[in-house]
Amino acid sequence: MNIPVKVETKNLSVSFGEVKAIKNISLMIPANKVTAIIGPSGCGKSTFIKSLNRMNELVKKAKTTGEVLLDGNNIYGEDYDVVNLRREVGMIFQKPNPFPKSIYDNVAFGPRIHGTHKKELLEKIVEENLKKAVLWDEVSDRLNASAMDLSGGQQQRLCISRALAVEPKVILMDEPCSALDPLATAKIESLIRVLSADYTVIIVTHNMQQAFRVADFVAFLYLGELIEYGKTKSMFENPKNELTEKYITGEFG
């Protein structure tokens, strides 16, 4: 691969108490591409991407070993600033989780806590990022309405705007469409394609077609281990591993 690497994991393992969720995963994730993490439920997909912005630390008894390099720096290094990490590595959750504030305040929240308070500047940021997430046209006339009044798909795009507003380099998506209908899903998927021009996107999905549609690269995890990793097309057309093939063809999962 001649593409620059954005995120690299080296022998990454995460355990919760006695349970090992992921084991020795070493993976190089290319910059400005969409990488999908696929695998059956409980294979460690979510744990894997949550280790990339250290969200696993919020879970009790979580223990991480190995390294995660973001632009070459180990984010588990001793004096790595976790708050800054989460600015650079944004996250979209499985269930849309807008704050019960106005649409405007949702997007402005990130910039505000990072020190932007000028009204004109915030307005510009909010507009820009709502446009990036293709939500602006639907909400521009009601920015002060509650985010909770939006539809599920709109809420998820709002969460994407909110994440973009703090100018991340990497965007993690943890099954972002699993709570959405097909139409809303299609919108998010085409958005993901557009975003990959400017951001490194890592998406967890258990929907094979979705991985095929949006991803440039696919990593297949099974029981916490990385089974196969490669370009989407070659993974789907001629998987090297028997397990991968079985999973992709729907024999289990």
Partner: protein
């Protein structure tokens, strides 16, 4: 009819009557105090000092005393209780220390109030030399209601969905920014409800302030306390004194019931405020 179903009906009817008796008791209580005390209540009663050896006049100093004591109590208990709850829910995790703190809170809540009173007497009145004063009384009541405030605030914080915290942290907010912006505002109605219930509890407590803050009556004392180190009258202790310490309790019976009615209405209306806050919040909540 099927025997099993008949049996079930009979039992549930019994349970229903038993449950409904709760309403009867509260109505009975209010009724008795109204019939015996309402005649005593008038403008003078609410705004005048006791006169003629407590057989005439009003309870204004006692109302003010209760107000001072409870407001000062909550002024101590609210910030400290909320801060403790935030620490326990958001920061502390599950260490050994936290377990000890939790059982300390539970135990503090279970201490009989007369013990609080004696403790407050020993510590605040005597050792720290605050004397029989509003300050001593409020500090004693503070210890009494602190567990209530902490528990209510903790429950309120726990009902705020985890996803708010995750969403906030994932944007690079610090833990404190997350708590301040995306947790506390949504827990606040619950916290306030708990604080008001604590206020009502403090207003009604008798034993702790009997030992630390109040006197029967002092003709020379001002109607409104001028210093936190002044002793004071209070509604709850006034009832106790009038019913048991007055040379002629029968003569002042209606004044005693009148005082009780005022206290009862004060406490019930505080509870009502708490209920209103809670239902409004439930109705408006959109998460």
């Amino acid at each position: 009819m099927n025997k099993k179903i008949l049996k079930q009906r009979i039992y549930f009817q019994i349970f229903r009557v038993v449950t409904a008796s709760v309403i009867i008791f509260i109505l009975l209580m209010i009724g008795i105090f109204i019939t015996n005390g309402a005649s005593a209540i008038n403008w003078t009663f609410l705004t005048d000092k006791p006169r003629e050896g407590m057989t005439q006049g009003g309870i204004f100093p006692a109302i003010m005393g209760t107000l001072y004591l409870t407001l000062l109590t909550i002024a101590f208990a609210f910030p400290i209780g909320v801060a403790s709850a935030i620490y326990l829910v958001e920061y502390a995790g599950e260490s050994r220390l936290v377990q000890v703190i939790n059982s300390a809170i539970t135990n503090l809540a279970g201490v009989p109030s007369i013990i609080h009173g004696l403790f407050g007497f020993g510590l605040f009145v005597t050792y720290l030399q605050f004397g029989t004063s509003i300050l001593s009384g409020a500090l004693t009541l503070f210890l009494l209601v602190l567990p209530i405030v902490i528990s209510a605030a903790r429950e309120a914080l726990l009902t705020v969905p985890k996803s708010f915290r995750e969403g906030s942290l994932a944007l690079g907010a610090t833990k404190w920014q997350t708590v301040r912006e995306n947790v506390l505002p949504y827990g606040l109605p619950g916290i306030l409800t708990g604080a008001i219930l604590a206020l009502a509890r403090a207003a009604g407590e008798t034993a702790p302030i009997l030992l630390t803050a109040t006197f029967f009556f002092s003709a020379g004392a001002p109607a409104v306390p001028t210093s936190l180190l002044d002793g004071t009258m209070a509604l709850s202790t006034h009832i106790y004194y009038m019913a048991t310490q007055h040379p002629n309790p029968a003569l002042v019976r209606s004044l005693t019931y009148g005082t009780a009615l005022v206290l009862l209405l004060l406490v019930l209306s505080l509870n009502l405020v708490a209920i209103v806050i809670r239902t409004r919040h439930r109705r408006r909540r959109n998460w």
